[in-house]
């Protein structure tokens, strides 16, 4: 493992999946598995036009980095990239990307899954819905299911 295996970015602009996977694995012949997770803005059966993503600058990067470092340690990941967007994100667009590389497939799956579960519940981002009819809807509520998804990683 050369250099720091964790890349974290919080940005307004979209990201390019292929570019990030390329950067993660370029010149390496020791990676056996790369799992990527892309989270997208759903239109909720045509009722939602966009999400407004608010974040806590500084803490957002710090918290995602902490989660990724924990995943590297716990699952023996070779490299991790995590990118989270903020601002207005139209339906069909990307919100978040996590890439995890490992010699073996289950570690890559578990690493990316773990990062997403903790990112959902502890990275300081908040979503507000914009309705398709132009009105502003309310803030998205946190889900108990997301807490449960996170807690399964400490139950073993």
């Amino acid at each position: 493992m050369s250099g720091l295996p964790v890349v974290v970015r919080v940005q307004r602009d979209d990201f390019d999946l292929a570019h990030e996977v390329q950067a993660l694995s370029a010149g390496r012949h020791d990676i056996g598995a790369i799992v990527t997770f892309s989270g997208l803005c759903r239109d909720e059966a045509g009722t939602l036009s966009a999400l407004e993503l608010e974040h806590y600058p500084g803490m957002a990067e710090a918290e995602i980095t902490r989660i990724c470092n924990e995943a590297v340690q716990r699952f023996g990941l070779q490299a991790v990239t995590a990118i989270h967007r903020y601002g207005t994100i139209a339906s069909g667009e990307n919100i978040v990307l996590v890439c995890a590389a490992s010699p073996h497939r289950q570690a890559a799956f578990d690493g990316a899954n773990f990062i997403m579960d903790f990112l959902k519940t502890s990275a300081p981002f908040w979503k507000k819905e914009h309705a398709a009819d132009g009105s502003e809807r309310d803030w998205v509520s946190a889900k108990d299911a997301d807490d449960s998804a996170r807690d399964r990683w400490t139950k073993e």
């Binding site: 806590y56 803490m59 710090a62 990112l119 979503k127 803030w139 509520s141 946190a142």
Partner: protein, 86 residues
């Protein structure tokens, strides 16, 4: 009295009506929980924002903390609802 920078996000920010402020805190405010109780005495907007204290998350110097955490030495204290990123 010690001055502390407070930052608010999402509906906490909207209900309080501002994203940040610097406040002088009485010395009786020891923990994050004390801070929430104190803020609720400052006006209706704070009362509305912090009504359900147990759902309000607190970060001190950009790290999540418990409501029982002492705030001594804090440069920046953030209050916000449960997170919904990802």
């Amino acid at each position: 009295m010690t001055a502390v920078n407070l930052v608010y996000f999402a509906w906490v920010r909207e209900r309080i009506g501002k994203g940040e402020e610097t406040l002088d805190l009485p010395e009786s405010v020891i923990t994050a929980g004390d801070l929430l109780a104190h803020l609720k005495t400052l006006g209706e907007e704070y009362e509305g924002a912090l009504e359900h204290e147990n759902v309000i998350r607190v970060a001190i110097n950009q790290e999540h903390v418990d409501h029982r955490e002492p705030i001594a030495g804090a440069r920046e204290i953030a209050l916000f609802p449960p997170m919904t990123g990802g």
